[in-house]
Symmetry: C2
Subunit: 431 residues, 2 copies
């Protein structure tokens, strides 16, 4: 079944699509020059929201799960990109140690890990799985839906190297976002490549830093194309010193929500947009769509009930939320069988390797879709395996739309690269 | 319509397929290490023959036409590979000058050129076409089957740079194999990248040098896999000082044909192969399947009639043949609707980007298929967009078979790299 997807077919995004297609060689060259100065994250996925009048990334994941949602047609692209990445980082590499999330009984997640193993084996590496779960003391088989299984092995740390029994890897790839903090076993690994670096994990990473970098990238790119950068970035402000359980800092939060709503209202007026602006309040670090709140009026924060405050205060792995990001909300006008859909783009090294639609039947167009009950439609992106055709009417061609999604997702990846440079604890200061 | 393709399902090639699949990470790493020492040709295509008991390349094209035969699903792989190639050679590149063959009225060839333009535009270059045809004095539109057109422009040479009117390229890509000799306009271009280099053209290139390099590569690879290298290379000997019109040198040719037939017969005996060996005699330089002869018995050369000798003596662009390659013939046991088929694999930089079957209804299994009347079935290779599955029975899975074809084709590409290093007139001698 090929899903029927309704994309908003009018407004500024179509003009953007047109300009993006016309400027294809210039855009690709621009990226090429950026990658001469900056190192792309090893892999990433970006959630996009297409409002018809605006297209923006809302989440950039540096430990992407969900490779299981890519169609078989997309995997050769991932293998080729993995080859290019390995060639640059460690061409002599023989062994790759992959460290997945701890909650590894989820069969979708396990299939994601299986897909990653396949991609890196095809790219020329022996791949084995090491776990951060201390309760696993010996190799443990985890059954997969296709009847095969994965083997998780306990990590062995010897002085400055990390490995498994009879397995000394040159590169360690994390598919665990370190929300629970940085385990000792991963620190001071100076002889091996640890990818992504520790400061990319949610123990240290901040969304506000990412979106600050993204705003910079979006402005550069908008200048190249001669367009308003607001069309591709969500306004974002960080608010700290919060304690949802006592109510501390909620007034500052309210002020910033009002600030972002006011600015957004002004922009909507400029473009003649009839919709009601909203903001999304989310923890400045952390993932899995937890602790996220949609606010349409700053006053709504005044009578935030105990339940709502509890929901906001603690997220994945029991982390307490003391800083949030107040972000301009971007509605999604994409629909599949009346369900709200948002595109997710996957990248490896500096290449787009695939994507799919995240669809949620029970959520509104202004809500976060990365939540229980969401489903995935990899089919929708299968058309991305066709090259864009510059001649086609904007909005009419799936490959053209997907090319534009790939461009915006790569801007977010480039922002992640800027972000990781700025936050690198080992970076030397040449100033 | 999906073609029904019969591949020989028994014998040593299935063992080879098994070993290739099991050794996938080791093979990919081996290639990675080779590419650290050697530069892949910018692009290439390799004709393979699968005899069931033997799989070998029979032609390695460094100016591949036929990109029009790749399916749309394969093009993103080509774009990604082109991006990687450009990044390495000339990341600042803005303009690419593409020089096609002169006989550019053939609509299949023109569609090939159109596909190349598309690939390199998507990879971030402004592409324009310059022609070696002196009769074209101003921009000339050539209509394409899809209703659009290509514009050929006269070349402008200014001191050490080559370009078009208002177009100064950083890189010049040849899609013209220089069978007619090296035009002055292409010499001494020291400020620009000329790809592939002039000595890759048939004005200087010799098949015997390629197959000597291929034998070396095949032996290295066979050692890695612990197998007989004969299973993947055709024995080849060059014979020079020939004049087909006077009969000069035909006795030496006959001796070498007998020599290769005898060695092949010995190998067939070793493997219990019931077939009758044959050799293929082809010009040592040149392409387009011209001047090629199948010989089953050295005695047949004694009564070579005038017509056969005329056919052998002059090939593309009126070049006279004075040196030939005597090559062990490899039958093709692949069939599509009873027509003989051979796989052609396309590569860009060091990546396999696609392929198709060349099918010829009127030719025998021991004849050259690159001839008038051949057709192409890109569909058959569409399955190559699925990754190989190590678990599957050899010969049973199209992606597995295609992976093996990709490995052998890359060995031929690596041999071309060795060959171009050995024949580089500008190479310094460190001995």
């Amino acid at each position: 079944m090929v899903p029927h997807l309704i994309t908003a077919l009018t407004g500024p995004i179509n003009e953007l699509e047109q300009r993006v297609l016309e400027s294809m060689p210039a855009i690709e060259r621009w990226f090429r020059l950026e990658w001469m100065e900056h190192t792309p994250p090893f892999y990433s996925s970006v959630d996009l929201r297409n409002a018809g009048f605006k297209l923006a990334p809302v989440d950039t994941n540096l430990f992407p799960g969900g490779f299981n949602n890519l169609t078989p047609e997309m995997l050769p692209l991932a293998v080729q990109a993995a080859m290019a990445a390995i060639e640059k980082i460690c061409p002599e590499a023989k062994n790759l140690l992959l460290i997945p999330e701890k909650h590894t009984r989820n069969s979708f997640y396990l299939t994601n890990v299986q897909t990653l193993i396949r991609i890196f084996s095809m790219a020329g590496l022996n791949v084995r799985l090491g776990t951060l779960d201390d309760s696993i003391k010996e190799p443990t088989a985890l059954p997969l839906p296709d009847g095969t299984s994965l083997t998780l092995e306990p990590l062995i740390r010897q002085r400055s190297r990390l490995g498994l029994k009879d397995f000394d890897p040159c590169t360690i790839l994390l598919n665990n976002d370190l929300s629970a903090g940085i385990p000792d076993v991963l620190t001071h690994l100076h002889e091996q490549y640890l990818l992504p670096p520790l400061h990319a994990g949610w123990a240290l990473r901040r969304k506000s830093q990412h979106f600050r970098a993204y705003e910079e990238v979006a402005k550069k790119f908008a200048k190249l194309l001669g367009m308003d950068p607001w069309l591709i970035y969500p306004q974002s402000v960080a608010v700290g010193d919060l304690d949802f359980s006592t109510g501390q800092g909620l007034d500052a939060l309210q002020a910033q929500v009002d600030n972002v709503l006011t600015k957004t209202r002004r922009k909507y007026k400029e473009y003649g947009i009839q919709e009601k602006p909203f903001v999304v309040v989310k923890p400045d670090s952390g993932t899995y769509g937890m602790g996220i709140m949609t606010v349409r009026d700053a006053k709504d924060l005044e009578d935030l009930g105990r339940r709502a405050r509890n929901k906001m205060s603690v997220i994945k792995d029991g982390q307490v939320v003391s800083q949030v990001l107040v972000q301009e909300g971007v509605v999604t006008h994409e629909r599949m069988h009346d369900a709200v859909a948002e595109p997710v783009v996957y990248m490896m090294d500096r290449y787009v390797v695939g994507g799919f639609y995240r669809v949620h039947a029970d959520r509104g167009e202004d809500e976060n879709l990365n939540a229980p009950g969401s489903s995935y439609v990899p089919l929708a992106f299968a058309h991305s395996s066709h090259l864009p055709a510059p001649g086609e009417k904007p909005g009419a061609s799936a490959p053209n739309r997907f090319y534009m999604y790939g461009v915006i997702a790569r801007l977010a990846m480039l922002a992640a690269s800027y972000e990781l440079e700025a936050t690198d604890p080992e970076a030397e200061d040449y100033a």
